[in-house]
Amino acid sequence: MNLHVPIREPLLDVRDLHTHFVTDTGTVKAVNGVSLQIEAGERVAIVGESGSGKSAMAMSLLRLLAHPGKVVAGEINLEGHDLNRMSERQLNDIRGAKIGTIFQDPMSSLDPVMRIADQMVPPIMRHLRLRRDAARAEAISWLDRVGIPDPSRRIDAYPFEMSGGMRQRVMIAMALSCRPRLVIADEPTTALDVTIQAQIVELLKELTAETGAAMIFITHDLGLVARFAHKVGVMYAGRLAEFGPVGDIFARPQHPYTQSLLDTIPPVDQQERRRLAQIPGFPPDMKRPVTGCAFKDRCPGAHRHCFEEAPELAARGNDHVAACWLPEGLGADRTVERPLVEPLAPTGIPGDDRVAVEINNLHKHFTGRSALPWRKPPTVRAVNGISMRIRRGETLGIVGESGCGKSTVARLLLGLDPATSGDIFIDGIAQMVFQDPASSFNPKMTLSSIIQEPLIVTGWGTRLEREDRVRELLGQVGLDESYMHRYPSQLSGGQRQRVAIARALALKPSVVVADEPTSALDVSVRAQIINLLMDLKQQLRVSFVFISHDLLTVSYVADMIAVMYLGEVVEYGSADEVFHTPAHPYTQALIAAMPIPDPAAEAARVQTPLSGELPSPLSLPPGCSFASRCPKATDYCRSHKMVLKPYSATRETACHYAN
């Protein structure tokens, strides 16, 4: 009788992987000893902030690193064969065939001058040893499975003839077309809108379940992890800090870094609007040797042992490992120190209901040039009849997918573009905080002169008075006075955004327009900026217009939310109401598409992503602009224009069937 139980060999077994980037200024140890196992069919998410080595780790598996990246040590065993010992030629039989890769940016990941067929068919011919026509048929069937309409015709299209969402579908079809055992997806949805992201994530789930392929999913979005992964690996400073089943990681995170990361996410439940957790300090310089735990300088629980010896991954439960000397990390009572954030009462500041901004029937149309002089030129109605009021001290959140006109509204508010028609009334002045602080500063100017610029332009005060004002502003945004004489390049992303906020506040504006102010930042830094904005709102009673595609953040920051679709506001009301009981089908779809960082809640949600994509803004449908994607649309909707109508005391919605 044979009682010997065969040990199941994992599909992928990575052991002590080290990847270095040798540069002139030193060696960056991007991956510094990572070991992990992945079973067949498993979806493993790797999370971490930029610079944590998560992408370098994924690209190391197939040696797809750009120069000067190099795998210097470690084993990468795929079905028992060590990829790290293979020659380039041998590895080329693994790439695409055994391991498929999906990259982040669908706009740049497909060859722009080659037809889809010419990119998809040759690898199938080579890896599956098919003839050209059979390979082409195979490619078409994959395009069909990823939801490309009319695939036998579209296979001869060029990438530029497709939208970003469609291109990412093609990318997925290509990565899966040779039936790989493992799929590596490096931030596959980061460049996409939230509704398209939901479609792509569902598609990846379905297809990997069907083919039984395992998946490594690199992301910084903890919500997506909860929706998608079986297991999670948290990376910090080139090493795994924690690894385990998704439910376990979210329910009882063991590493202080994981715990802090989870606490930086705005809570879904508005009753628990705690201040977001902040992770102090910066990640370690990867060029320098680290003694002890890499996280020790930022860890509130660090003790002497942490400075002396680096902790190894140790068991913390079933399949759950963490690299920390503390038995439970920071423990369960880590939220107690963070006070609740008072939301603005729906009536505004007591005794002050002055209006800071009033917008009446605002339009902005961009007119192109027609090919022939007698033809009507193409016109995009970027903003198509918007009316809103923002009270003093109120934060208005504007959400919507790219192309909905939210950034155009910002530019109109600031007078950067003239409106086509309609009025904007601002009591005081408006100032702007841009998405990418790095590119909105003159790199040759000191921070002092950057912040002073609006003061100089308006002839405010003397030089000494202005410098005093700069000190005051730096203090308000939480930067030390010594920063005055630094240059933008000497700052981190979060610090730059603080300076951008200081500059926006210099003239004591009545309204600050922030266009995606946190999108370019890592989650821990994002939390700091959000906290800062909340503090400033309380202290200065300044109104904010917070424009973002990130609904969760907007619902946390804003008092009122306006949901935009194709240049129109389709729902407008108090943040709580809009977020928790959305009335317009588009708002409902947006919220359904938004990943919630809670695996249990995610599992309970019904996943029916909004189908279709934005119609061309050049030819808007005559009726309700959302009708082409709306599950509830009828002929009435397709022929009648919808306008905002009162839905409740504090909410308006533009849907015929909502009321």
Binding site: L62, L64, A66, H67, P68, E88, R89, N92, D93, I94, R95, G96, A97, G100, T101, F103, Q104, D105, S108, S109, L110, D111, P112, V113, M114, Q119, P123, R126, H127, Y158, F160, M171, M174, A175, C178, A371, L372
Partner: protein
């Protein structure tokens, strides 16, 4: 495409008109005129004036200009001042020599610089700077040598010392072998000046493409680096390369004037020099119209070639 062709035609018309006008007036600003160039000091002032009025050179400048435009519109390019031969015949006879030199130069330049530039980019991308630095350095040295100087050096070495190529003698389009031997040195000299620019732009644009995401995608599907280089990188890098080849034709037409003069080749460059020396207004103006036409034609061809390499280019 129809709209595009119409636009192109309008562009051709305005370009030629502009060039013709400019040349007409600048030629007349240069001291001396064809009559004094022919006559020298032999004729009296009265006789000169008579000849001028015969040729219509005493009319007001503007009337001369309108007259000239009228002739141009009926494709009447006139005769040379000295030999009274039809100008158009002379140009058509000289054109094949110049075209051979120009095309030969472009072909040689492309054959040398694209592989060199690609090789430099490929090695640079892989982090091996040695070969890249060597290629870039040689290209720079070649770029810095003026054509008239390299011409003389080549003549000295290959024609006078080694005797491989004839330095002068007749040229006929009917004897291609001889033509080839005669134009070999001029083509080499002109290529040396062009190779540097083209190799450098090839290197830059291939290097840029090699770090594009879609190159990594192709690698992730199991293609070797060389296949990716030839199938993906070169095609994507082609646009700036084609642009530079188109632009280099301009430099090349300049260059042909010099090398035709030094190597005594009967091309249109030599006609131009002769025409300038004898202040032959008609000859110079007609040649400039030809040059303008060649330029516009090359621009047009460049645009069409864009479409071959990049489907995103629409007309």
């Amino acid at each position: 495409m129809l709209v595009y062709s119409l636009k192109r035609f309008a562009q051709l018309f305005t370009t030629v008109l502009g060039v013709v006008t400019l040349v007409f007036f600048t030629m007349r600003m240069i001291p001396g005129d064809p009559i004094s160039a022919i006559a020298g000091d032999n004729l009296s002032g009265e006789a000169l004036d008579r000849m001028r009025s015969q040729m219509g050179l005493d009319a007001p400048l503007f009337v001369q200009y309108l007259n000239y435009l009228g002739h141009l519109a009926t494709f009447d390019f006139g005769n040379t001042v000295t030999t009274k031969l039809p100008i158009i015949g002379l140009i058509l006879g000289a054109l094949p020599v110049t075209v051979s030199i120009a095309v030969g130069t472009i072909v040689l330049t492309v054959l040398i610089s694209i592989p060199l530039g690609t090789l430099a980019a490929f090695t640079a991308h892989k982090g091996h700077r040695m070969l890249d630095n060597a290629i870039t350095g040689v290209a720079m040295v070649l770029d810095l040598m003026p054509s008239f100087w390299t011409s003389l050096v080549c003549l000295l070495i290959f024609s006078l010392t080694l005797g491989w190529f004839p330095a002068s003698g007749t040229v006929s389009i009917d004897d291609p072998a001889h033509l080839l031997r005669r134009i070999a040195l001029p083509v080499l000299v002109l290529s040396m000046a062009q190779v540097a620019t083209l190799a450098r732009i090839t290197r830059t644009s291939v290097l840029e493409v090699l770090s594009e995401d879609y190159v990594r995608t192709a690698r992730s599907m199991g293609w070797s680096e060389l296949r990716v280089l030839f199938r993906h990188a070169l095609k994507n890098a082609a646009l700036p390369i084609v642009t530079v080849i188109g632009l280099s034709f301009g430099n090349l037409l300049n260059g042909t004037v010099i090398v035709e003069f030094i190597f005594t080749l009967p091309g249109i460059g030599n006609l131009l020099v002769g025409g300038m020396n004898s202040r032959d207004y008609q000859m110079v103006q007609t040649l400039i119209v030809f040059y303008a036409l060649i330029f516009v034609a090359i621009n047009f061809a460049t645009d069409l070639i864009y479409r071959v390499f990049d489907p995103r280019v629409q007309f």
